[in-house]
Amino acid sequence: MKRFLLGTALCLAPLAANAQTAPQPAPSPANAASRWEKTVPVIAASAWTGPRLPDGQPDVSGFWSNTISNHSNFTDPQAGPPGEPSAAAKLPRDQRAPSRVSDPADGQIPYLPAARALQEDFAKNFPNPVKPRYIEPLARCAPAGVPKSFMWHGYEVRQYPGYVVFLFDSGTRVIKLDGSPHLPPQIKLWNGDSRGHWEGNTLVVDVTNNNGKALFGRNGDFMSENATVAERFVFDAAGQRFNYIATFTDPTVYSRPWTAMIPARRFTASDTPDGWHFDVKPVNQPRKPMRYEHAERICAENNGPFGGGAVGVPSEEAVISR
């Protein structure tokens, strides 16, 4: 059996110094520029004037990706992960994109002391993970969860009456718009349980039932299973950008609620597929303009060292008996 095919999966280098940085295809120049934007656009909540779907939802379906780097570093997005500072990390702070923490104003997550110690311990051990807990869960193909999914690869939004569905590189989120009650609180999930509604140009989503396991990135920023997240996806009038604004409330981890902002832009057939932001396949449509579609997303099935085998996690054993 060809167990470890190298497909669209997250394929990671063997354990080495700072082994948790996945090799990634170099984005095309145009897309690379969009990934290294230094500023976050302001998009005001307002009425929606763009196209709508037959059920009345603003039509925001299509491909999207973040514009200020990946999940390597939550509060200094373009500085690189712990132990491996980017070239830009040498520049003055104001020459890199701002912290994703928009409130408090200092750009730091307002951890309680014990929680701060846990985050710092993870960051310190990330470059040389000697225990399973120091492996970034995404490197094991865990769902990227909230909010990391919006800093990982590009993703597709599909909309239906009563639903907004996010097809992420790692995991799928189904946001129900029907106002139904959340799952019972005993159920804790990587992506949480989402209920949303539209307010003008803004998709407002309430996320409960979080398991807190996905972490926010390679510095170990986190919430616990007691957290709730209030998300606002604010789309611009042209439908080409949105800002993801999420307020995290968790009295067991934070001294007060705080807010993250992650900017994203739309990707279309005028962009070049790059295997990261715009990770798509060309459609087979002879003599018609080029367009693209979502490719199969597989990870645990193809993953090598971190999917199992690393630091005590078996790779060939059964994980369920049902």
Binding site: L215, V283, E301
Partner: protein, 271 residues
């Protein structure tokens, strides 16, 4: 109605007695249109474009995924009558030997035990719900188990020019033949199984699915499997899929491949 004061059972019996041999109410209302069926079929749900609307949460009811072939009850499977048109799978002799080896090793080699994607068609008749989201250009199948998400494209496009991608779920292109969605699925790898009994396929598998709503809450599903490396001729699986109508039912993500390492997060020593 005049008899509305009767208790329900009495009313039903009385109506049944009256209904034969006299005309049914439908015939009485619309004379000259021919006999009405005894029970008028509920209209199929349809999209704005007039296609059958397969949206919803579906699940098999049956034993197919334990073993597609007829089988008596055993330690790890309830009895099942089989769901194959040919009775048993028409394996080539050498492939049958492999299938028997798979069966013997099923307690550890079934990819399901690692929570890998179950593939096509196994994910459809696995005993867990999946949700169909439908647009004119595609159907998206989100399966509760693991990370299986499949797009069935219905925009008239061809399979990709790029061949031999060896996809876990294959590449699905569908079209409507009347009210039946016919899906051509190609370009598989050889990693997935067809059931818990070790029935299997090679990377030459070609699946033709037929999805047909037979009432608002039931899909008649079939999958015809061709694989010249493994089978002597095409054969067909047929199952019914039922709409999950439990009050407030929704999918609950089940990324079970995370279970081994989930106890380490967030920032924990583990088990």
């Amino acid at each position: 109605m005049a008899n509305s004061t009767l208790k329900p059972l009495g009313a039903a019996l009385l109506l049944a007695a009256l209904a034969w041999p006299v005309s049914s109410p439908a015939q009485t209302r619309t004379p000259g249109t021919g006999p009405a069926p005894a029970t008028a079929p509920a209209a199929l749900p349809r999209t704005a474009e007039g296609k059958p609307d397969l949206s919803g949460i579906w699940q098999v009811l049956g034993e197919a995924e334990y073993d597609l072939e007829p089988h008596a009850g055993r330690r790890d499977a309830p009895p099942g009558p089989g769901v194959i048109d040919t009775g048993t799978i028409p394996y080539r002799p050498e492939a049958l030997a492999q299938r028997l080896r798979n069966f013997e090793a099923r307690g550890k080699d079934d990819p399901r035990l690692k929570c890998f994607v179950l593939g096509v068609p196994r994910g459809v008749y696995y005993q867990a719900p999946f949700q169909i989201f439908q647009r004119p250009v595609d159907l998206t199948l989100v399966h509760q188990f693991g990370n299986q998400v499949r797009t069935i494209h219905t925009d008239g496009l061809l399979h990709p020019e790029e061949q031999h991608q060896e996809l876990w779920l294959g590449d699905s292109r569908g079209h409507w033949e009347g009210d039946t969605l016919v899906v051509d699925v190609t370009d598989f790898n050889e990693e997935t199984w067809l059931d818990r009994a070790g029935n299997y396929h090679s990377e030459e598998l070609h699946v033709t699915e037929r999805w047909k709503l037979i009432d608002a809450n039931t899909i008649d599903y079939s999958a015809t499997l061709e694989d010249p490396k493994v089978y002597t001729r095409p054969w067909t699986i047929s199952v019914l899929l039922h709409r999950r109508r439990d009050k407030g039912f929704q999918l609950i993500e089940d990324y079970c491949y995370t279970l081994d390492y989930a106890p380490f997060y967030p920032h924990k020593e583990g088990k």
